[in-house]
Amino acid sequence: MNIKLKIWRQPDAKSNGRFETYPLNDVSSDMSFLEMLDYLNNNLIKEGQQPVAFEHDCREGICGSCGMYISGRPHGPQHKTTTCELRMREFKDGDTITVEPWRASAFPVIKDLIVERSAFDKIMQSGGFISVNAGAAQDANSILVKKKNADEAFDSATCLGCGACVAACKNSSAMLFIAAKVTHLALFPQGQTEAELRVKTMVAKMDELGFGGCTNTRACEAECPKGISISNIAKLNREFFVAKLKE
């Protein structure tokens, strides 16, 4: 198929960016979206132009590196799919596809489609862990966990840290990201001792880093490639209020 790409080009963090249009012919529907960008880049390099910079690594939907707006939606049109898992069979001949980096003030653009997401790491550093040193653990089966809790914790812990939730949110809120971590750890007995401190510091850090608040539009849930439910945010709110009440 033949398509037209409108891609955000920005040489570095300091320069202004703009859209460039690239027609691309003979795109196979079996290609992944990123393979299509590889193909475009190969053509650009041959013509002596700079290839489009984008982040990617595992290309199987698990590392969370890739992420871009594709025709207005984080990770593109397919539900519960990362950009690297998206296939060109989701598009048709003659389509114009607009490709942009995440838009959020907490995620500044570094180059073209690459943004700086270290704000997520900073939030994690503020409390997204259980404080236990190597060697201090008891036998794994001495901590009993209800199967239901373990399964739910797993669902929350599948968060990739890709940033689609922030990109999808009109407030650029990181609530789903934090909620997934708080929920994951709150469901385990071993996460209890510092649960109150954790939720308070993580929320405070989110505010400090310039992410917005949650107004329950559910855009994050709709665009999360791992389908992490907004019920995590309800759990976060509950944990947060309980922690505040106990102050």
Binding site: D57, G64, A134, A150
Partner: protein, 639 residues
């Protein structure tokens, strides 16, 4: 006199590590913070090393090419992590885990190292559980286990098909805790471009800031490489696209011996190649072979759809050839068996280069729901790529380059032949011999980082407590930085016509055709000529756009591909030198009457450790004799 002193302690197998630990020197807490340690890589090996060294009070600096430690490729491990807990009461033990690994590696690993890996495996599970890793559980609240290839017990801990991700998120959280505590400093988006050696010891690194292009110097009292494997040498592999061999290769050029480079695991269950644009092969976890049955039609080039082929016309070739282990034979055996059927014309799919992995019978027996809950995310992945649901139609799979058992030679303390340079996880060679069993890589790299390296590196640093912080304005740093800059300049000045990716693809094809699942003398010799020619072409006709003072992904790729040429030659040389078949290394000249790998213990029971002798020089082979004091060498049979 051999350069290789493995430092394996004397005494009975079960006492070696305990005895060795007792003899290791300590560093008092006040001195630890004066000692700097650099860790390269943030996968399970790097994160576990860095967080634990931070917890101990060392001053740790961690480097990663990704934007966040959580992206390292350990994240993609699917099926599970082994431990000798015997939670299933199926008579498992540390000894059995050790024995399965030694046998699985076709008796080409060190007994002492493997036993130690099995010994610390239980501690690893305890630690991950304490960190909040959501392992699958039973209704009573205890942890569930499943079986994996090459063994007859259920000792694999798992979190659906995302065990690597869950373990890495746990290890990452422990690392972030140390970053907050100030014991660990994280340097993301950095490529290691060389190792700095001062007075024979590893004392620092030269990195490139991938955003600004700045070349940086970092010093330390010791350096730890946790940089993974080099499976991307095949271009198409199950690895992340940016995984590369460059850190290990730079260490090799600086004097670290490279062991058994030709021991590469070709994983049997990857989604097959679909088209020429393809950039990677996606793995389907080996755990699928617990419930999936592998088959091809009995009739070559059978045009019927798989579900239309009746039972009696299907050849379940693994069950036929290996009745004792059936579909759960080790990876090397399963891969070669698939290749054998496809080469004989029985392969399926448009290219004839794939076999079926069928869940029909398991669904009939256990129900769709159970199968879906065990493998749901894998089935989704498969469906997204192929457009077919494995619940309805059998999967199509084919072997793909996956894991490298070979790597930097290390002694029992995980130190390379450069004093002060350590290697953990996949980047070293030590525990998997000629073939790795499933779910033992997460186990090994975590064990190395949490429970082995922290003790052995302390022993090394105990002699360094009087050494002040290493300055970076000394001639060794100047010289190494100048070399690095010179090479970047050279890559940028070629101004040819062909991209680094295109060269990588061509190199990958040579490696796959002549040094992949099956090797022979003629092919390997041919590959050596072809690689050399291609390398010459690369240095004449490479095209890199952009400059060195910006984010430049083409430049990153070019440097990595240049190193792959050199490593590719060593891989072929090692494969050529080892005239026996063992594990994943299959020399056509050395096979049994039934087509199984035939070892030659009299002549090849050694670790081949290669020494770099300079640009354009033949590398020198050093042999570390493998002594088997506790297990009896025997033919590795899964029949």
């Amino acid at each position: 006199m051999s350069k290789l002193n493995s430092k394996i302690p004397d005494g009975p197998l079960v006492d070696k590590w305990t005895k060795h630990k007792t003899a290791l020197k300590l560093v008092n807490p006040a001195n630890k913070s004066k000692l700097d340690i650099i860790v390269i890589g943030t996968g399970l090996g790097g994160s576990s090393s860095a967080s634990t060294l931070g917890e101990l009070g060392y001053n740790v600096k961690v480097f990663s090419y990704q934007d966040s430690p959580r992206r390292a490729h350990s994240v993609a491990a699917q099926g599970g992590i082994n431990a000798a807990k015997n939670y299933k009461n199926d008579n498992d033990s540390i000894y059995r885990l050790f024995y399965d690994m030694i046998k699985g590696g076709d008796f080409r690993a060190r007994e002492a190292n493997v036993y130690r890996a099995a010994e610390v495996s239980n501690l690893v599970i305890d630690h991950y559980t304490a960190l909040g890793v959501p392992f699958a559980r039973d209704y009573g609240g205890t942890i569930d286990n499943r079986s994996f290839g090459g063994v007859q017990v259920s000792r694999t801990f798992y979190a659906k098909g995302q065990t690597g991700q869950q373990c890495l998120v746990g290890a990452y959280s422990a690392l972030t805790r140390q970053i907050k505590a100030g014991t660990v400093t994280m340097y993301p988006r950095r490529d290691l471009l060389d190792i700095v050696v001062v007075d024979g010891k590893a004392r620092g690194i030269i990195t490139r800031n991938l955003v600004t292009g700045e070349i940086e110097r970092h010093s330390a009292h010791a350096v730890v490489l946790a940089t993974g494997g080099y499976g991307t040498i095949y271009y198409l592999s199950t690895l992340a696209l940016n995984s590369n061999a460059s850190a290990a290769w730079k260490a090799h050029r600086k004097g670290a011996l490279f062991a058994n480079p030709s021991f590469v695991q070709i994983h049997p269950t990857s989604i097959p190649v679909m088209n020429s644009y393809q950039s990677k092969l996606t793995l389907m976890s080996e755990s699928l072979r617990n419930d999936g049955r592998v088959w091809v039609p009995k009739q070559a080039k059978d045009p019927r759809k798989p579900n239309d082929i009746p039972e009696e016309e299907r050849d379940y070739y693994l069950e036929r050839r290996y009745p004792a282990f059936g579909n759960l034979v080790p990876r090397d055996v399963a891969s070669r068996a698939a290749k054998e059927r496809c080469d004989a014309g029985f392969g399926v799919g448009p290219t004839g280069l794939s076999v079926y992995l069928d869940f029909r019978d398991a669904i009939k027996k256990k129900g769709k729901k159970v199968i879906e809950s065990s493998y749901g995310n894998l089935f989704d992945m498969y469906e997204k790529i192929s457009g077919e649901s494995p619940l309805e139609t059998p999967m199509r799979i084919y072997p793909a380059g996956h894991y490298t058992m070979g790597g930097l030679w290390v002694d029992y303390n995980l130190m390379t032949t450069i004093p002060g340079l350590f290697a953990v996880g996949e980047s070293n060679f030590s525990d998997h011999g000629a073939n790795r069993l499933g779910a033992s890589s997460l186990m090994q790299c975590s064990g190395d980082g949490y429970f082995i390296l922290p003790y052995t590196i302390t022993d090394y640093l105990a002699d360094d407590i009087k050494t002040p912080r290493i300055q970076t304005n000394i001639p060794e740093f100047e010289k190494t930085e100048a070399d690095v800059k010179e090479r970047i300049k050279r890559l940028l000045s070629i101004n040819g016509k062909e991209t680094a990716t295109s060269f990588h693809k061509r190199l990958g094809k040579i490696m796959w055709d002549y040094c992949g699942m099956v090797r022979n003398e003629e092919g390997l010799k041919k590959a050596l000529v072809l690689i050399k020619e291609l390398e010459e072409e690369f240095w004449k006709n490479l095209k890199v756009t952009g400059t060195d003072s910006e984010l430049n992904q083409e430049l990153e790729k070019a440097g990595r591909v240049a190193d792959f040429f050199e490593l590719g030659k060593l891989l072929c040389m090692d494969a050529l030198n080892r005239k026996e078949s063992c594990g994943a290394h299959f020399r056509e000249e050395s096979q049994t009457e039934t087509g199984e790998a035939k070892r030659d213990d009299d002549n090849y029971s050694f670790v081949a450790a290669w020494e770099f002798k300079g640009e354009g020089q033949e590398p020198e082979l050093h042999k570390e004799e493998l002594k088997f004091e506790f297990v009896k060498l025997q033919e590795r049979s899964y029949k």
